[in-house]
């Protein structure tokens, strides 16, 4: 997996902002919790943007994130490992 990879979550899912975190419900798979950046990244994984393009969006939305593409790649690898991509 590299910055050109185009991630797409492989099931229907929804994410909501909860009390202390963001909560994602993934059909047939289960529930995951995220921070705000993680939730933002996952919402972009619709099979239309590359890791690098999502990284750019993260950079624009969360200016404090130093290496947004690396962050996206990390999230994508975790999701792939868990069978969500």
């Amino acid at each position: 997996m590299n910055k050109n990879y185009i991630p797409k979550i492989n099931c229907r899912f929804k994410i909501r902002k909860d009390i202390d975190f963001f909560l994602g419900f993934f059909q047939d798979k289960g529930v995951l919790t995220f921070n705000e950046v993680g939730a933002f990244i996952i919402k972009q994984m619709n099979g239309e943007k590359s890791v690098e393009e999502i990284g750019q969006l993260v950079h624009e939305a969360f200016t404090s994130i130093e290496k947004p593409t690396k962050e996206v790649l990390f999230v994508a690898k975790q999701l792939q490992k868990s069978g969500f991509l």
């Binding site: 229907r12 929804k14 909501r16 009390i19 419900f25 529930v31």
Partner: protein
């Protein structure tokens, strides 16, 4: 250093709810927890009320709705409810006695993005119909299962344990397998002292030994028949051999799971009665965040449960005869006195 106490997470609303669209049912199961008074004598709520409840659940951002009853498919406007709920983008599932599900119904369910459902089956024909008191209900339920499976909806068989069927789990699954009914899961549930089971509770209740005989059967079903088998309700893990712990799914009442009845009352469990409030008077988020604090504190559990490493929620609240809305499992009180010995 004193060990940290277990607590339950607070969410703004349930992740998943059982929505009792209508209290009406056309079977007469001998143990039905919801059957007081007789289900058939109850009346269906108006569609407008059902729709309003769905709107309130969407407002609270509940993810999943399990269409529940009574019997969802005897509700005259069940298709309208299905369409409306799908339109609100809920993840949908259903819990049914299966007797009204044919190919057309199953196609409608699949068209509304339903991937899973649960159909009650309490044994092979003779046992099932003795329990439901309706002749033909076994074939109808099995046909309902087949229709769903043929339309790509995986089915879990819900098997409520009674004195007459608790040794027949393997035989029932084997019958299904031999007759081409490829259920994905069997989930056994505990008998609870509510509804019809309550009046003669001492005669009908299962002993701890009865329950312990269930686990080897679940293991056999899984290993020999390849059907996922589990104990769908919570059970005190301290009373179950460790090798069977993974068979206990547990319970997430009052945290990720809630029950909404047809009038809008909110409770954490589909079986145990009572209400934390009504969503037409108070928002679900307010009910869920504020009125369940005491429950989530777990201070109502014996201290050893609160400190237990294999935390099981104190077993199943609905099994306690005098437990109210939540209480330690009946076996925790009866067998251990002070829990998790």
């Amino acid at each position: 250093m004193k060990k940290r106490l277990n607590t339950l997470v607070s969410l703004k609303s349930p992740i998943s709810v059982n929505f009792e669209v209508s209290p009406v049912c056309d079977l007469f199961c001998e143990f039905c927890f919801n059957a007081d008074p007789e289900c058939k004598a109850l009346i269906h709520p108006p569609l407008k009320q059902v729709i309003s409840i769905l709107d309130k659940l969407a407002e609270a951002e509940v993810f999943e709705i399990r269409l529940f009853g009574g019997e969802f498919f005897v509700y005259p406007q069940w298709q309208r409810v299905l369409e409306y709920a799908d339109g609100l983008d809920f993840f949908l599932s259903f819990v049914s006695n299966g007797t009204h599900i044919n190919m057309d119904v199953a196609k409608a369910l699949a068209a509304h993005r339903i991937h899973h459902g649960a159909i009650s089956l309490h044994g092979i024909k003779e046992i099932h119909e003795r329990i439901t008191k309706v002749e033909g209900s076994f074939e109808a339920a099995v046909n309902g299962m087949k229709s769903c499976i043929e339309n790509g909806i995986s089915i879990a068989a819900l098997y409520t344990l009674t004195r007459s069927n608790h040794r027949q789990i393997f035989d029932t699954c084997q019958w299904l397998k031999n007759n081409g009914v490829d259920i994905s899961e069997i989930s056994v549930g505990r008998l609870a002292p509510y509804g019809r089971a309550r009046s003669e509770w001492d005669k009908v209740k299962l002993s701890l030994q009865d329950y312990l005989e269930v686990f080897p059967q679940l293991e056999r079903v899984q290993e020999e028949l390849g059907i996922s088998a589990d104990f769908g309700d919570s059970f005190p893990l301290c009373l179950v051999p460790t090798k069977y712990h993974d068979y206990v799914v547990g319970c997430w009442q009052g945290t990720g799971f809630g029950h909404i009845d047809h009038t809008g009352n909110v409770r954490p469990c589909s079986v145990a009665k009572g209400s934390y409030g009504n969503i037409f008077e108070t928002s679900l988020t307010e009910i869920w965040t504020k009125r369940l604090r005491d429950f989530r504190s777990l201070k109502w559990l014996p201290e050893k449960c609160q400190r237990c490493d294999s935390f099981c929620g104190g077993g199943c609240s609905a099994t306690s005869f005098s437990g109210g809305m939540y209480a330690p499992d009946a076996f925790i009180k009866q067998e251990n006195g002070d829990c998790h010995e």
